[in-house]
Amino acid sequence: MIDVQDLTKYYNDFCAVDHISLSVQPGEILGLLGPNGAGKTTTLRMLTGYFRPTSGRISVKNLDMPKDTLRIKSLMGYLPESAPLYHNMLVYDYLVYVARIKGITDPDKQMERFKILADLCGLSTIMDKPIATLSKGLKQRVGLAHAMMTDPEILVLDEPTSGLDPNQIAEIRTIIRQIGKEKTIVFSTHILSEAEATCDRIVIINNGRVVADDTTANLKHKGMQNSFVRLTLKGPDRKTAHDFLTSMDPALDIRSAEPKEEGLVCFEIRSPDNRDVRSDIYLKIKQTDWIILELARETQALEKIFQQLTRQEA
């Protein structure tokens, strides 16, 4: 559907996007993840034809930029970050304006489309309000209606949930998932749980480069591989406990961790074959009179992977 190759963008000397290659399949929800200033917005702006890339190739449905930019633009709906709209217009007037520019000139068709969008984005009560008086969440919804005006095949959303309250975030996510059943969606975010909850595939970028590109499930699976067991004990001192656990299986990698309270000992235990060693530990410690306060398997969640990937590079 979308094919991006070696996309590069320089702002004077500063390289914002450095040879990014991506491809998005039809019907996929792709999350573009990265810390602030990683180049997410710049990438999306080039993808939507707002910025001209310094070098690289973008093709959408076998149409090439910049030759077919206008046709590509008509295939896409784009919601820029913080949904910049014309503040002096009424929501309805704005939608009419957008519909006309996007080629829906017939008033009946406009009304039909507005009804669908009003239901989907929850606009029916604010149609007659000036855009300037709307809250941020409502503006975001108007922006979403703008993006979906022509029922485009591809939706590009730049941080659609930034600056919204938790309820609004949940609403926007529901809308995205709902639309994502039929459409191809590319959206950027710096919130991991959001990407995890909504995307089929996640591309992590940092300093303008792709540092990870995989399905959400695979990335999570990778996180599982680095799992460890956290054990907190009451009773023994650190040395005794360590020796005791090592005697169970010398291959275990046992590291001391900072206990939450005074008088406790805490370990992080990794097994070489990434096996779940909780039952072994329990059975072993049952032989003593120590008290197990915590025995939990922790997986290196997406968050850790993200931190690893983006910190190393920084």
Binding site: R45, T48, G49, Y50, F51, R52, L70, R71, K73, S74, M76, Y78, P80, S82, A83, P84, L85, Y86, H87, N88, M89, Y97, V98, R100, I101, K102, G103, T105, G143, H146
Partner: protein, 234 residues
């Protein structure tokens, strides 16, 4: 074509949604009315020559005020991004905004049509120069709008856009009065570049193709420059 129309209508309406239109039109009428009628009864001539001779200088301040927001505001608010990612070309956007500004300048002139009506009651007025003057005023306004639009495309700051626009329009307006500072070899060229002499022809009732071509070329040059700036800024 329909996109140009949509953008032009939207921008034109925008003037009247906000107080800008009413303030600009009122001030324009006060300024031109004051200067025109302060000498009108002293000379006692039933014509509008003095009104038209005022226009270039008045326009060089009012038109940049009208055009300054067209690009600068959109850039500043960020709606420029929304606009550019819709299926419209740079040409559509630039022309739409240009027509909206020119139409607004025409709307600014409409109330002044009352002057020739009343003057024709109190004296025997020759309609030719007046009609020519209004036609010339439209050409002049279009040229200045193109310059103002160009200035607005250069920056995201409306005040800078206004000042650059004023500087451009003002230069073309007064350059004819500076001729005696110029070396004699280039006087003829400078005289041709100045807008006043071309506009004066119109207000005498002379429709010379050279003057029409002059104003149309100005519009083309600055619209093309606007297009280049839009492309370069991305």
């Amino acid at each position: 074509m329909s996109q140009i129309k949509t953008i032009a209508i939207k921008e034109f309406k925008d003037y009247f949604i906000s107080p800008i239109a009413y303030i600009v039109i009122a001030l324009f009428l006060i300024v031109t009315g004051w200067f025109f009628f302060s000498t009108f009864f002293i000379f006692g001539r039933a014509d509008m020559r003095d009104f038209f001779s005022l226009l270039p200088i008045v326009f060089s301040f009012f038109i940049p005020a009208v055009t300054m927001r067209l690009f600068a505001e959109e850039r500043n608010v960020g709606s420029y991004e929304t606009l550019l990612t819709m299926p419209v070309s740079f040409t559509d956007i630039a022309l739409g905004k240009f027509f909206a500004a020119t139409l607004f300048a025409a709307a600014m002139l409409v109330p002044t049509l009352a002057y020739p009506v009343f003057i024709s009651f109190i004296g025997d007025m020759d309609p030719g120069p007046v009609a020519g003057g209004y036609l010339g005023a439209l050409f002049l306004a279009a040229a200045y709008c193109a310059m103002g639009l160009f200035a607005s495309a250069l920056t995201r700051n409306q005040i800078i856009a206004f000042i650059i626009g004023c500087a451009l329009c003002f230069t073309l307006t007064i350059i004819n009065r500076m001729l005696f500072f110029m070396p004699p070899q280039i006087v003829a060229v400078i005289e041709y570049i100045g807008a006043s002499s071309h506009f004066t022809n119109f207000s005498k009732g002379i429709l010379d193709s050279r003057d029409i071509i002059y104003f149309i070329s100005l519009v083309c040059i600055f619209m093309f420059s606007t297009y280049i700036v839009m492309q370069e800024k991305n």
